[in-house]
């Protein structure tokens, strides 16, 4: 493990330095609502357990313009909304959300076509994660291939050692960023040992442990299982779980007419839980009720996506558990599936 040591003042200095040359996004608290936002000073940073809205929306905005069109003399001119070529720092990302980016990367970069908007932003972004020392009861990252101190998806990982911070170098990108800043001391052996200690404690303190080995195989035979009819009953079919999920990436595209001759093509987050998600022009809908849509959500996360990308499309952050208006708990659903 290689890294630098900061005290609290030095960390603020480091971040304010970054802000001078780059766009920096970090968790903030706006009247009780925590989310990631661009900051102009390190004093705006609010470290809490988890922000309400995940950092997903910085790299994959809830609403973005893909291109604009203009009608001129019987002709049409299109202008792509190119992602700005600027360095972005995404600071304070918990390991679960960083892992979420890896999962979205796979979906958006695989195959013949690349999602240039997300991928360009991703290329331009350095992710400074913050390790999670106190996982909650709703956390289950270790059950789905992650860890509260996971290094997947981050370029640098910040550890809170109480009186000081250790900024661990994880990727070449992170190394490049920190290399030129010579004034901060290298982490000492004792500091590294402390990180290893708190990492061990954090992993052991994980209360929710789900046995999900073979869940993909289990679900292979469960498409017609009566279980779905029971599970979906209390679901009201809103989009809270999908919108707050760090790994959900379904989107919709539509045109907005600004004037009679100009407009834009816009893409926004969409949710497989909405009834029109799969409605065809003919009027047919392969997922007509909440039962099929609930099944789709679970199958996609734990069977379809794993088949395509060898990874479970859930990072165990627990947002869907905490924010679901009717307390539909994915852990309960997973346990029911595994014991079916």
């Amino acid at each position: 493990m290689k890294g630098r040591i900061f005290d609290k003042a030095q960390l603020s200095e480091f971040i304010d330095d970054l802000i001078k040359k780059r766009k920096v996004y970090a968790p903030i608290n706006k009247d009780g609502l925590t989310c990631f936002s661009e900051i102009k000073s390190s004093s705006e940073i609010y470290f809490d357990f988890q922000s309400k809205l995940s950092s997903k929306e910085i790299l994959f905005p809830r609403c973005e313009t893909l291109f604009t069109y203009k009608r001129v003399d019987g002709d049409v001119k299109l202008e792509e909304m190119k992602v700005k070529d600027e360095e972005i720092v995404l600071f304070g990302v918990p390991p679960c959300e960083a892992r979420g980016f890896i999962l979205i990367d796979k979906a958006f970069s695989s195959g013949e076509f690349q999602d240039v908007y997300y991928l360009r932003r991703r290329e331009n972004t350095i992710i400074i994660g913050k390790s999670c020392q106190y996982p909650r009861n709703t956390c289950f990252c270790t059950s789905v291939g992650g860890s509260p101190f996971g290094r997947e998806g981050v370029d640098l990982l910040l550890h809170d050692l109480g009186e000081k911070y250790l900024l661990e170098i994880v990727s070449k990108k992170g190394e490049k960023l920190i290399d030129y800043i010579q004034k901060y001391e290298n982490a000492a052996e004792t500091d590294i040992k402390m990180v290893q200690r708190i990492e061990k404690v954090a992993k052991e303190s994980m209360k929710t442990r789900l046995e999900l080995k073979n869940i993909e195989e289990k679900l292979d035979n469960m498409f017609e299982d009566p279980l779905w009819k029971i599970i979906y009953q209390k679901c009201v079919g809103c989009g809270v779980c999908t919108y707050l999920c760090p790994t959900c990436y379904c989107f919709d595209m539509f045109d907005e007419q600004v004037t009679s001759s100009e407009g834009k093509r816009i893409r926004i987050w969409d949710s497989c839980q909405f009834p029109l998600f799969t409605l065809q022009g003919s009027g047919e809908n392969p997922r007509p009720t909440g039962k099929e849509r609930m099944r789709q959500r679970m199958m996609h996360k734990f069977n379809y996506y794993p088949k395509n990308y060898d990874d479970i499309a859930c990072v165990g952050c627990g947002r869907c558990i905490r924010e679901c208006p009717v307390n539909l708990d994915i852990r309960e659903v997973l346990n029911k599936i595994m014991t079916q």
Partner: protein
């Protein structure tokens, strides 16, 4: 009657209904998966009635689950929930004979967001809930909070704590306490200047991520195709522009005119804590002022926007 005694009575009623096959299904509340949550439950097996609970965390409006069920259902309904059921019956979405209302006189439910704010967002590891007190334990804290101080705003000013319609009632009716200002959630906005109001609404509604939790938990939002999804014509767009967001909320509130019972389910469901009731309650107040009508109190009453009277106010037509 203490809520814990009500629970025994409630379970006995449910057991009897299922045994006698008076209903095929009981919709009620059971313990949730987090220390401070309850969750809707659907019970058709008489052996499972002990799952049913009743306390100040029973915040969901279960009337949501009644539509499109052909069978006879027993449903646990607080005062506001029962009013929603009446409204749905009046609008022909539920048949009266298909629903057996187990009325729950209610002194209010807790606003979880107020509690979370009190705890500064710290995790609740253990919760003991009684009628007037909640004891919350977590990492480094042990708090006793008075229920009355953390009631949902819709409950503080509630005027219909007892179900106006029921087939059986659990325990004794509670006193219909008259709050000082039953429309305080909206009158606090009316006290602001126009500019202040605009600033307040912009601040609140710009948080909206269009998850539609507010719409989906409302028992009266039952349209097969919501105006939000219609595209011939397209009424509004789904961008994060504040205009689009405001149009969604304003139109939804207009659609609830004469139908909203101010149960607060929408604002409790909002993951971002948007003060939706400042707008929804305005509509409830307007309907009361213009038409002297409160939703869901009588099966025979036709909602004002579904009928007209010769003496309807016509100020706008001058």
């Amino acid at each position: 009657m203490l809520m814990v005694d009500s629970v025994q009575t409630m379970r006995k009623i449910a057991k009897r209904l299922l045994e006698e096959k008076s209903v095929n299904l009981i919709i009620g509340y059971e313990r949730g998966t987090l220390p401070f949550r309850t969750t809707p439950c659907f019970i058709s097996d008489v052996k499972e009635v002990d799952r049913l609970i009743w306390d100040v965390t029973c915040e969901n409006n279960l009337a949501k689950y009644l539509k499109d069920r052909g069978e006879k259902i027993g449903i646990l309904a607080k005062g506001c929930d029962a009013r929603s059921i009446v409204a749905c019956i009046v609008e022909n979405q539920i048949k009266r004979e298909n629903v057996f209302i187990i009325g729950l006189p209610c002194s209010g439910v807790i606003d979880r967001k107020k509690v979370e704010s009190e705890l500064n967002g710290k995790e609740i590891l253990e919760a003991t809930i009684s009628d007037d007190e909640i004891i919350l334990k977590g990492e480094g804290y042990n708090k006793r909070l008075p229920v009355k101080g953390f009631l949902d705003d819709s409950c503080v000013s509630c005027k219909h704590r007892n179900p106006p319609l029921y087939d059986v009632i659990v325990g004794e009716k509670v006193l219909e306490e008259m709050g000082d200002d039953e429309f305080i959630s909206t009158s606090k906005i009316e006290d602001k200047s126009i500019d202040e109001r605009w600033e307040y609404f912009t601040n609140e509604l710009s948080k909206c991520i269009r998850c539609y939790a507010c719409r989906n938990v409302c028992p009266l939002c039952y349209c097969e195709e919501c105006f939000v999804d219609q595209n011939m014509p397209t009424w509004l767009d789904k961008t994060d522009n504040i205009s689009d967001i405001m149009v969604y909320h304003i139109v939804r509130v207009f659609h609830t005119a004469g139908r909203c019972v101010d149960c607060g389910a929408c604002s409790r469901a909002c993951p971002l804590g948007i003060d939706l009731r400042s707008i929804t309650q305005k509509m409830v107040k307007l309907v009361k002022e213009l038409y002297d009508f409160e939703t869901g109190l009588m099966l025979e009453e036709v909602p004002p926007l579904a009928t007209f009277k010769q003496d309807d106010p016509q100020e706008f037509m001058k």
